[in-house]
């Protein structure tokens, strides 16, 4: 279908983009990969007055080492994230979650920043970002601020990004050598998650010394499964441990009900999948 009329600008620097955003006022919208925004426009669920395309700012696509962190530009496409060697080496969980997003076409267009800014509770990247304590670099007219993942996701489709602000970069601490896995359950092979579990474990001599677990689509935002994390730490990684720890996964969640899965079924899935994800991660 055809979107309602809008103005289009394609700035070549982030500063220009912020200015355009401020000038555009309330109705201005950022365009990243367009994989979520364009359908919204075409279904006429949104009618922005101006669309600001970040596609003309090459620096936003960069993936680089930044001291003890991996810094990923907001406009890095899913495809580039999952293929990147730094990501594979230091943030493998993010790469694994990204591989499960949709199909190759969508992954070539959609971006890490766009997905996180869109904040669909069924999206796959929020749980990984949350589990890994990513930092969100946000630029506004007053300069840059950094928001920790725990404060970034605030509600369905809502984040800490302010009205005239742009997410420019997502920074991940290095988890070199961690055992990771993203376990996704969906209705068809390339669909969104009904439930998914992001697991990163530090295993020393067979014992789990640190655990980071994020949940997809178990509430209005990605959720950190702290109960499971605590139950795993200090334990030998094995079947019974995983199963017992998985029982904690529903703590603090508010699983939604929809046509694919009612809340009770989601909760059940979360338990089964957590057990599997832990075991797969440790290998």
């Amino acid at each position: 279908m055809i979107p309602a009329k809008f103005d289009y600008v394609r700035p070549t620097s982030v500063e220009e983009a912020v200015t355009a955003l401020r000038d555009g006022g309330e109705d201005a919208k950022i365009l990243a990969g367009g994989q979520s925004l364009l359908p919204v426009l075409r279904l006429r669920m949104a009618a922005p007055s101006v669309v600001i395309d970040l596609g003309g700012i090459p620096e936003l696509r960069r993936i680089a080492e930044d001291g003890d962190r991996i810094a990923i530009g907001a406009m890095a496409a899913h495809h580039d994230v999952m293929r990147d060697d730094l990501v594979k080496q230091h943030v493998s969980l993010l790469g694994q979650a990204t591989e499960t997003v949709a199909d190759p076409q969508v992954r070539h267009r959609g971006t890490l920043g766009g997905a996180l800014a869109h904040a669909d509770p069924a999206g796959d990247l929020g749980a990984a970002a949350l589990a890994l304590d990513a930092e969100f670099v946000i630029l506004g007219a007053d300069g840059t601020r950094v928001v920790p993942a725990a404060e970034f996701f605030t509600d369905y489709f809502t984040t800490a990004i302010g009205e005239a602000e742009i997410l420019t970069q997502i920074r991940f601490p290095k988890y070199t050598g961690w055992k990771t896995h993203y376990e996704k359950f969906n209705r068809t092979a390339q669909a969104w998650s009904m439930v998914a579990i992001a697991v990163a474990l530090k295993v020393d001599g067979g014992t789990i010394s640190e655990a980071r677990i994020g949940l997809t689509n178990m509430g209005s935002t990605p959720i950190r499964a702290t109960g499971v994390e605590q139950a795993l730490v200090g334990q030998a990684a094995g079947k019974d441990v995983a199963k017992a720890a998985a029982e904690h996964v529903t703590e603090g969640t508010h699983a939604p009900s929809d046509a694919d899965a009612a809340a009770d079924y989601r909760e059940h899935l979360a338990k089964v999948l957590t057990g599997r994800a832990v075991l797969t991660a440790v290998g």
Binding site: L43, M45, F185, A189, P256, D258, D260
Partner: protein
Amino acid sequence: MTTTAEPTTTEIGKSRVRKEDARLIAGRSRYTDSITPPGTLHIAVVRTTLARATITSIDKSEAEKSPGVHGVYTAADLGAEAVGMPCAWPVTPDQKAPQRPVLGIGRVSFSGEGVAVVVARSMAEAKDAAELVEVDYDPQDAILDMEAASKDGADLVHPDLGTNVSATWQFDSKAMGTGDSVDDAIKEAESDPDSIVVRRRFRQQRLIPAFMEPRSCVVDPTGEQITIWSATQVPHILRTMTTVTLGIPESKLRVIAPDVGGGFGGKIGVLPEEMLCVLLAQKLGKPVKWTETRSESMLTAHHGRDQIQDLTITAKKDGTITGLDVHLLADMGSYLGLVGPGVPILGAFMFNAIYKIPALKFTCSNVFTNKTLTDAYRGAGRPEATFGIERMMDELAVELGRDPMELREQNWISHEEFPFTTVAGLTYDTGNYEQATARAMELFDYAGLRREQEERKRSGDPVQLGIGISTFTEMCGLAPSRVLGSLDYGAGGWEAASIRMLATGKVEVITGASAHGQGHETAFSQIVADQLGVPFEDVEILHGDTQVSPKGLDTYGSRSLVVGGIAIVNAAEKVVAKAKKIAAHLLEASEDDLEFANGTFTVKGTDKGKAIQEIAFATFMAHDYPEDMEPSLDSDAVFDPENFSYPHGTHLAAMEVDTDTGRVTLRNYVCVDDIGNVINPLIVEGQVHGGLAQGIAQALFEEANYDEQGTLVNATFVDYTIPSAADLPSFTTESMSTAATSNKLGVKGVGEAGTIASTPAIVNGVLDAIRHLGVTEIEMPTTSQRVWRALQVAKGGNPMETPSDTHSPGAGLGSIDPNNPKGEVL
């Protein structure tokens, strides 16, 4: 005198890559939406989101002021209040048929129905203005449950009809003299300790045909004939029906179906939007174009299936079936489609399938509800019947403690018994169920999988294995015109063909079949190349334009090859007969002394000869030809078959069920189909693969869900889950052939086989995997949630039904409730 020797078959049987594909894949195709005559105006239909309401007012004023708008019209503004869309299949003399208006008049009967139309300079302007039309409604509770709707005293979808039951159609083998009485069979079985009665209820969920190219129509009124381009399967029927509907003389209409991107039955209708384009083009004197959006398509293009099946089968305890009683409720939606009422009725003849069932009764009531209308969808009536009987065979096997394949074999028609006249009155010409089954079981490793299944059961493996069987047949090649007449169908079932021999020896073949993705151009070229002995490359297939192909009944019901293909053969034979006369004249020989092979007429016992392409040139020059004939080789033929054709096959599915999550995985699928002689094995394989995907999708993935207000909640591809290649295994498909005797090529038709056969194979397999855990039935689609819940119930757990109509707060845009786009939990 026979006019031809056996044609040399160098092309038939060859796996030629489809010649139309390069064009389609490279984007050189021309779909209706790519056609925009100069000065075209675009329309957007204003649609209601309510399923049942009276219209209290329509305010067009804002829309009329919107930039680029030419006008905004209701049915009354167009003088079209009396126009009703045609239904060509009155299944009973007293069938109740409401007027199906081009735009709702005074009321709306399903969510998505048009109430006004905006005409503007561009599509975008039309869409903008459509949002400004203010319609006030007085909403009423939607009537959605066909069972409740069919009861006396129910609220009425169309009060003037006095009932929601459009028609009740019955077939009783006793009354028809084709078999015994089912009522007697049931009575006897009930009182006989050596017999058994099995009753089951199955639901055929509602499906959306989901063709790739959305529907589109362009009407240009500026010529002597009004030209209609439409993304339709049925250009010829569209022309006739436009005359029937609007009264425009047929001779003043030219209909063109350019490249059409899929249909699956979904483009068999004649649309209100097509008629709106004609009316507006005539009124405004300018070309008018309509192209739907995907969601518009899912909401308003006709849906398929949607039946409740109550089945009773009776059998001796030794496994011999004695009777089958079929009671159907079929949801028509809010109006009757072009052939919608007849779709469930087609199933009447297929419930007995490949089995020797002595008594059959079939009763079907067609019911109105406030939903999108239903009509043909790949298989049309036959998948429903095949599902019913193949599920019942498994249920009977369970009740009797028998192997389901062995029970089938005990009851099926053995290959020595053909031709076999069934309890439904059809005569199956050929088939060999034993051979197809034996081959399929071998390819599948039936015995090995049964062992693995036992092993998994014994060890309590969380992943259980089930084997699903479907031994199907179908009647295809719609159809013998007289049979259609006896079913009160509003048309015949013949097909037409013409062959034109061009001066340079090239061949133009005109067919009344209207391809929309099947590969006709390739398969028909192969047939003609063999018949005439000319190179494949020299044959051009022309179709889909009533100026080029004035006569035809189009493409549906697996009829193009078995009816249209035979018309082409007949036309080719006439060409050869004419050419032979001229060849004899030029070679100064008697016709009897000529033989025709590889495209050349030779005088027997000599090396004197002439190629048919040379004769074409000589005929064009016309300097020297026999006195008693016209200088032309061109020939026409119309073929009306005397019988349907009856492909059959054995389909086997290995289903894994993860009992921890409910996830169902199709591990392996084998089918061996007898589709008669094969023209192009590659095209056959493609048809089978696509058909399987669609049938499997019904079993596992697809369902059109309505909420309590009657809103279709999954009107995008995010929510209406059609599978992709990533969801399906690599199929093992083989074909075997017992040639059909009902046509010269011995072909049977393959377009629907995969869809018809596969659905019950999958569901039988899912149940076979977990029946020992206490699960006896799972409604389609057998999603992980439904399977998991069935397992919980079997364990005595929470029987809570999951609502199927709730909007997801997340999971993509399609799930976003239009009334609550942010997904706020209210």
